[in-house]
Symmetry: D2
């Protein structure tokens, strides 16, 4: 069992009707996407053609910020506001899609963009899947 | 001139049609709101009646996370994605309103909730004002 | 291969003499520790005896903040400052130890503290292991 | 009175012997330094000579991460661990100095680096001043 699953399992109060599997998947996907975006921004910065990667770096940094915030918010359940969770999930899904679309344009040139795009797509899908259960 | 104004002024590229005053106000309001929410969650935790303040603490922590992310995103202009900015501003505005509504219920009992509610209302208004210009 | 390993592998420039295995382990451990601490603070807040868990919540929140910052910093390699990395790793190691010591005192009562203490100890060890290679 | 002063004033428990003025100054300086560093990294990215500013961008991002974490930690007082605060303040002081030294090398060329270096120096001094009182 992953650490995220264990923390959800040991939560002392009622989690309500939330789908624990979708929740754990989404927290894991947000965390991985944040790591990928932080590393991709840095890898783009190291490229000789950094000047062509400005939009990619900017979206990477935005996406990392949103994913870190989303993971933290989803990790809290005590009297959690469902509407707020829905809104942040929709934003996270949208920014991950934007970042994926940008990274995909450089994926054939830059391996780090290819890997990062995949992490963004997984996070986009995990947000969508969790949203369907809320 | 505030530091935020100075950083906007010294940005080397074209900022486009963005309203610099509304942008600076919003970054400042997000930052102050994050500080107020972090401190209010901690002050609630120190109250003898902490058990009645669980929802307030949870919303404070969510609001702080969103405001920190929003301030960082608004501080970046290079090939910034306008649609992403609009979405994060709408979420920030909504979470600030929720957090303000909760803190206002405790404002007559707890000074820290009164001050925090004011910071959330200022941030809600600053997000709305910036959204109108985008 | 984990995502973190893939992002390290696809970094386009020279990583120097850094031990990639220790680096990947440490980033993963920081991320997991941040998740555990965020969730443990929230679980403590939901406990009937929240008033006795104030120090635990405070250390959880501090530890999560440090671990998120450390993971982000370790995810960047471009002209990275080695001395800065050593300093942040030492702080992260120390805060993880403090948080583990506190959570261990509640581990027999609260499963979430037991799981969180283990995540903190893994992160403490991962920081120490990476420090030895720098 | 600034918002930070108000939040410190309304804290419901005993703050002990902490110098409230030095504490408020340091939180404000960390917050401003994080904003300056976020904006300076982005401004460097927009420069035609971005390739020469890689180390500056990297230190800006590290410094912003540390300053955000430090401001959050200093905003919490409930059963706060003094030793942990000292350690994070020492790291914050050191990273601000490193970032200032780098930005100062570009200050005559780039106004954003000049303004950012000043914010880093203020934060370095505010951390040192608070450390002297702890």
């Amino acid at each position: 069992m992953s650490l995220i699953h264990e923390m959800i399992r040991t939560y002392p109060d009622d989690l309500g009707a939330v789908d624990r599997e979708a929740l754990a998947e989404c927290i894991a996907a947000c965390t991985e996407c944040a790591e990928a975006c932080t590393a991709c921004a840095d890898a783009c910065l190291a490229e000789p053609g950094v000047a062509e990667l400005r939009r990619c770096i900017g979206l990477n940094l935005d996406c990392a910020d949103i994913c870190v915030a989303t993971a933290a918010i989803l990790g809290r359940h005590t009297e959690a506001d469902l509407e707020a969770r829905r809104m942040i999930l929709e934003v996270c899904q949208a920014i991950c899609r934007k970042c994926a679309e940008e990274c995909e344009q450089h994926a054939s040139m830059h391996e780090h963009c290819r890997v990062c795009a995949e992490a963004c797509r997984r996070c986009e899908a995990a947000c969508a899947a969790l949203l369907e259960t809320l």
